[in-house]
Amino acid sequence: MANKIVTDEVKKQIGVESEPSTFEVERGAIRRFAEAIGDHSPLFNDEKAAHHTRFGGIIAPPTFARSFGIEFFNLKLPTTRALDGGSEWEYFTPIRAGDRITVVSKLADIRETEGRLGPMVFVVAETRYTNQFDELCVIQRTTTIRY
């Protein structure tokens, strides 16, 4: 059966990268995020304790990059509702307080299935977070279910 929503026109957007956005990572933002998730590790909260670790200072918790926003491309689909299906994260270099992180996102995959409530679209967004030294910090793949 032909797709109702994920047309060839929509599929053309796979792989097209968003304009890069750059964010400054404030120490206070890391601490507020760690507090909000209830993670009291000194690596994320205590500058002095973190200084004496191999990281040499405060780093961000694994999902901190989420606070930059999640979708940097605007995918227009004739759906009204969205559910967060899950995420896959790969970590390469720590995000540190004081970093300037450049974020580029793209539509990595999109597929349609017929659900109980009509067509369901699985949208996989891949977002890459790179620091000011051009070191790749994180790759995030998030699946959103739109219906």
């Binding site: 209830g38 590790s41 918790p61 926003g69």
Partner: protein, 145 residues
């Protein structure tokens, strides 16, 4: 910080130290502010119920963060979380305990890296796995010290 775990300390089947969380509506508001996710189903009960939910529910991303903490606590200061995967299968509501758990499913070396793969999940107070996932960590080795 807890005592550092080394590659030699774990075997396939080893349980990870569990992580207990007792999320409140206050924490959901705090997380909304810290993360910038202001979708009303996480703090506005009327809005949530109008959307056919039983009440406000936890952000998937907050549950993702709990599983992140489960793994960074396990990996310790000398370890490194290499990969984290999470799927949202069931809703969780504030005011109820959720527990992060995991077990080692594979361990191997790749070059000089000592790698441990884990199956992880969050379970609700009834013991239902609402949020399954997997994680890969690089642990320090006693041999390489």
């Amino acid at each position: 910080m807890a005592a550092q775990v080394y590659y030699e300390d774990v075997e396939v089947g080893s349980q990870l130290p569990s992580l207990e969380k007792n999320p409140t509506t206050r924490q959901l508001v705090q997380y909304a502010g810290a993360s910038g996710d202001f979708y009303q189903i996480h703090y506005d009960k009327d809005f949530a119920m109008a959307n056919k939910l039983p009440g406000v529910i936890l952000h998937g991303a907050l549950k993702n963060a709990f599983l992140g903490q489960l793994m960074t606590d396990f990996a310790g200061e000398l370890g490194w979380l290499r990969k984290l995967t999470v799927q949202y299968r069931g809703m969780d509501e504030p005011g109820s305990k959720i527990t992060g758990r995991g077990k080692v499913v594979k361990k191997y070396t790749d070059g000089k890296d000592h790698i441990v793969e884990c199956e992880i999940w969050l379970e609700n107070a009834k013991g239902e796995k609402t949020t399954p996932g997997s994680a890969t960590v690089i642990l320090p080795s006693r041999a390489a010290r």
